[in-house]
Point group: C2
Chain length 337, copies 2
């Protein structure tokens, strides 16, 4: 059934029945003009929004509607994670084409709902409007204990610069997917392409996992002075920390954790693996600076690498190569306009 047959209110009713908003902090969920939530006296509120637009952030020729929903919610959860907090409730504004299949809209909502449930919260309200392209705007409310609040500002000279996980897969995955989408029109190449790259390679681009559990472990166990998530690329986001903290950074090439998948694909990708690690956006890994020594990382469950140190050279980013030569880096990252 197409959306124009079901109508706006029909779809809202369907979402409400399939995905009821229940939780101990929810006084009133979907179905009124606002959701009503219990506040928590000890905590600070965190408030963020992030949107995905079809053909800009995702392409439905290789994203499923569920992928798009998952990714939109993941980006917002990641914003709460980097502040050191926990998500509480989301509202979603969906722009949907009238010829869209109702089943696809349910899959999209289901993707958002799954991510919310996985990370312990609920979608409590929303708005639906007509749009030529799919637009997913999520606003997420979270909470943080004042002692755990982390910001972009606060990096100190001498801090270790750290990153969770391995880098480069999101951009490499995107390039493979774009190449795959082209090959879809070309049946001969399609099967060769399919044999070469299994779906797992694209996982981080299609369905990123926000580092919420890792963040909570880190803020409890380390002395973190600044934190951000990698959405614009390692260098782009490191630059945000440098701007807000008025410091510089020195990275060590041999310490940067490049994804093994990216290393393996580097011949096909025709770019240096290091460039993927430095510039790949939408990684949703945590980038932070800490006063602790590297030994403090040993007892962590989360995978964390020390990749550099904070310097007093304001806004200067440099990298010490494997050959010990120092190069100055630009902040090139993902730019929308």
């Amino acid at each position: 059934m197409k959306l124009r047959e079901l109508g706006e209110f029909g779809l809202i009713d369907l979402f409400r029945k399939k995905f009821p908003a229940k939780g101990k902090r929810i006084v009133l969920g979907l179905g009124d003009d606002c959701a009503v939530l219990k506040s928590s006296p000890k905590n600070l509120l965190l408030f963020t929004t992030d949107s995905l637009m079809e053909k800009v952030h995702f392409d439905l020729s290789y994203f499923s509607c569920e992928d798009a929903g998952i990714k939109a919610m993941a980006a917002n959860i990641s914003d709460i994670a980097v502040m050191g907090g926990l998500p509480l409730a989301a509202v979603v504004s969906l722009g949907l084409p009238k010829k869209m299949e109702v089943l696809d809209t349910l899959n999209l909502y289901s993707g958002m709902d799954k991510m919310a449930k996985r990370f312990g919260f609920t979608i409590v309200g929303g708005d639906i409007f007509l749009s030529d392209k799919v637009v997913i705007s999520v606003a997420l409310l979270g909470e943080v204990e004042p002692k755990f609040l982390k910001k972009r500002s606060g990096a100190k000279i001498g801090d270790s610069i750290c990153v969770t996980g391995d880098l480069g897969e999101s951009q490499a995955g995107l390039e493979l997917l774009q190449s795959y989408a082209k090959h879809l029109d070309d049946k001969k190449d399609k099967s060769a392409f399919g044999r070469t790259f299994n779906k797992e390679v694209f996982g981080k681009h299609l369905r990123p996992v926000p580092r919420l559990n890792e963040s909570r472990e880190l803020v409890r166990k380390l002395k973190i002075n600044s934190m951000i998530d990698i959405s614009d690329g390692l260098l782009g986001d490191l630059y945000h920390i440098l701007e807000e903290s008025k410091v510089g950074a020195r990275l060590f090439e041999d310490k940067i954790p490049i994804s093994k998948k990216v290393l393996k694909l580097s011949l096909f990708l025709k770019q240096k693996p290091l460039d993927y690690a430095l510039y790949s956006g939408e990684e949703y890994e945590l980038l932070f600076t800490m006063s602790n020594k590297a030994e403090a990382l040993r007892r962590l469950k989360a995978k964390v690498s020390v990749i550099g140190e904070i310097t007093d050279k304001v806004l200067r980013m440099e990298i010490v190569g494997k050959n010990k030569k120092v190069r100055v880096l630009g902040k090139r990252g993902w730019v929308h306009f």
Copy 2:
């Protein structure tokens, strides 16, 4: 200057400088991954989102960018008002075309900012993305004292049905504006049209005023059992109250407050003035039911009319005409798909 010349981060910097987020409840405003706010232990949180899409909700041939910003924020404030609460902070997600003038984006943001300031809160965060058409997604956080919380459910048999202000101008204004937009291509007619209708007539459609102050007065002084704002039309929104409260409604034609402007324009508009009052959406007037008698309205500052009563005939809406005949009404309102 066009947006593509300034870039995404340039625009964010510009917004941040021109519209800083400050307030006693704001720990951290624009410029980090989340805004950070102080919560209030005694109050419940209200959380809502509402989006406007170019060519669906507004047309830039007769909306200024500032109008669009004002209207997007007004719709969200209205949602907080009907719950009996006060707004606390907003985040905005803006989809903007890359060929848009930077000045226009500033006017759009300024419209939202003006409304926020007028109603005592601040925009604390946002997201900007590339879009063919302008998309304005606002998410608004508010608070309400538990004793003042109002819902759609709760209407009781025998309640008086009340509405603030006068009805019909938003839809009448829209039709005039659409006619005006056509005349813009026709220079001869344009001046005749301009002489006939001054801009004030369109005010409610372009720059609606949410009834926040009125709502706060009403929840303090009256025994309100249910409340909603008129965004889908008087009958469409009344129907939402009936659904949630499982009751019926009887309206009295001679009690419905039709805008004088609509009465005056009715010949030109070629529709019955009453139909504008019953079906005009985006009025943002408050529609509520109360246990009080009509006398209780006399001491109010807000203009409120008793227009009917709640009945035990579940989901039935009827109207008693000026001729005392009873007609059953449909819920026809604004439908998106």
